[in-house]
């Protein structure tokens, strides 16, 4: 059952071959068995999960089921879920019980899906390896000594090790796509504004976007049908008409124009990864896609721009953690200022503090124009590069990450080296464009991801491109050894 697609699982439930309670129990048993090795889940509540499964079975029996009714989903611990502990991977929120549902959670509840638990993540989604989590690192099931990527590392290994049918993630600079690449599955960051951020704990509000993490493009399409949609409670939510993301999955790719940005194949790309990407491109040529060389001349500025904008927005967003209304409060302090300063010093980890300090610095008196404003201007240049590129092509292809999963601890002392993990993913966040990572093969036994960046609202075409490739390749069905 664990390797079945969402469509197959949905059919099994509809045909009464299995109940949602049985399906949920299967995954709960697997979590019990494998989670101690990989630390994918921070919080579980079996009673709540099984109650949702029972309700789903009733709905299926009553004939009111939707495609994801009864399907067990892992939720990144960044989404508030009413009555569930919601930590965002931080000591600051170690005891926080969400008093309401994020829009994403509401959508899955309305669809009748089962919440299997809250998954591990880098603290406040700040990291590319899941090593900044207060609840401990997550191990890549392809090699337990390596990182799963981040920040959605728990959701990533829950999908890769089949500890859920599918999962949610969020992507501010690559946090869905980079772990999807490093763990060998399909992860989609939608167009900014397509999925509501309501109830999703904020990191960098102008970049944060939720999306699906699943075994295939088809599964991601089914997840998107639940997740996407206008929400007036998110001021940046876009009033885009509802789409059926599965409708174009089976279109032929003949004539699809694919742009290859020369900057994504330049120095810094691992040779083993480059070889896998070249083979994927060859496969797409067989499917009828046509390739054209393009350039994203400002791509190299993505990381500097991101490390101004994201920390600036984070320092603002995280100012709400003051130890007054919720979150950690220090045990001892002399006065109100001392309470703020000690509570925040104790509640935040090192990487979060670093980013708050960078953000505070670039926004401080006298520096705003030189940093924040400048970064917002270059952000437009980066977005304009894509606008120019899409005059020549329908989608853009390249590697998701320059290399494969690295060893735990390898980059923890060097923030800048860690940041370079996201060199190919950040530009899509800055431009607000959708991006997807698809498993394309292996280098030295570790998964490699192919990234497709689409134009605004072109998720259906990207999923079509992913699905067509997954019909003629089987990289997306590969399972890590030791996880059966």
């Amino acid at each position: 059952m664990i390797n079945q697609s969402l469509k197959q699982l949905s059919q099994m439930l509809a045909n009464k071959e299995v109940s949602s309670v049985e399906m949920t129990q299967t995954f709960l048993d697997r979590i019990l068995k494998y989670n101690p090795d990989i630390n994918a889940y921070i919080t579980q509540d079996k009673d709540k999960s099984l109650a949702q499964a029972k309700a789903a079975d009733d709905s299926i029996a009553a004939g009111t089921a939707t495609p994801l009714t009864g399907i067990p989903i892992a939720q990144k611990d960044i989404f508030c879920a009413k009555g569930w502990r919601t930590t965002c991977g931080s000591k600051m929120l170690e005891t926080f019980i969400a008093p309401y549902d994020a829009n994403v959670i509401t959508q899955f509840n309305n669809a009748g899906s089962v919440n299997l638990g809250k998954t591990n993540m880098d603290e406040f989604a700040m990291g590319s390896s899941n090593e900044t989590s207060y609840f401990g690192g997550v191990n890549n099931p392809w090699d337990l000594e390596r990182v799963p990527g981040g920040s959605s590392g728990g959701s990533a290994v829950a999908v890769a090790a089949r500890l859920c049918a599918a999962a949610t993630g969020t992507d501010t600079g690559g946090s869905i796509r980079q772990p999807a690449a490093l763990c060998g599955f399909t992860g989609l960051k939608p167009t900014y504004g397509l999925v509501s951020r309501y109830g999703m704990i904020a990191f960098a509000s102008s970049l944060d976007q939720a999306g699906p993490m699943a075994k295939s493009a088809e599964d991601c399409a089914m997840m998107m049908n639940v997740m996407a949609g206008f929400d007036e409670r998110d001021s940046t939510s876009l009033n885009h008409p509802k789409e059926d993301y599965t409708s174009r999955l089976n279109q032929p790719l003949a004539g699809l124009k694919v742009g290859l940005p020369k900057e994504y194949f330049a120095e810094g790309l691992d040779a083993g990864v480059a070889k896998v990407i070249d083979e994927a491109i060859a496969e797409y040529k067989k499917l009828g896609a046509e390739f054209v060389d393009i350039s994203l001349p400002n791509a190299s500025l993505s990381i500097p721009v991101y490390y101004v904008l994201a920390p600036a927005e984070a320092s603002t967003n995280l100012s709400r953690y003051d130890g007054v209304r919720y979150g950690h409060r220090a045990a001892e302090y002399d006065d109100l200022m001392g309470m703020y300063m000690k509570s925040r010093a104790e509640g935040f980890g090192d990487e979060v503090k670093r980013r708050i300090l960078i953000g505070t610095y670039v926004l401080s008196a006298g520096y705003y124009d030189a940093y924040y404003l400048k970064a917002q201007q270059i952000r437009r240049l980066i977005a304009q590069d894509f606008t120019e590129a899409y005059k020549k092509c329908d989608i853009i292809m390249g590697p998701t990450v320059p290399s494969t999963a690295f060893k735990i601890g390898e980059k923890t002392d060097d923030p800048v080296a860690m940041y370079l993990q996201d060199i190919y993913t950040i530009a899509a966040n800055l431009a607000g464009l959708p991006g997807i990572s698809i498993p394309a093969g292996f280098s030295n036994g570790l998964p490699v991801g192919l990234q497709i960046i689409g134009n605004y609202f072109d998720e259906a075409r990207m999923l079509n491109a992913g699905h067509a490739y997954q019909q003629v390749t089987d990289w997306h069905t590969a399972m890590p050894k030791g996880i059966a």
Partner: protein, 95 residues
Amino acid sequence: MALTIPDIKRIAHLARIEIDDSAADKTLNKLAGILTLIEEMQAVDTTGITPMSHSQDVVQRLREDVVTATNQREVFQENAPAVDSGLYLVPKVIE
């Protein structure tokens, strides 16, 4: 520009994060690398470029000025470190 330990302490104070001398020293080294990275931006001529905050250039939506949220004080206060009689407790700030 090069940051100094007093700079780090000033920024940490603005951010309301307590930091001691040894932590400030370690932080200085890490932040220096990040600021060097950020400085790459300064080589770009951005004269006349409009800053971009949302890819779709959307405008803020307006809504009717009516009450939409219900009072959930008790639920919200269950997460508070210290409350009394429906109030959030903090150290005394007025003599």
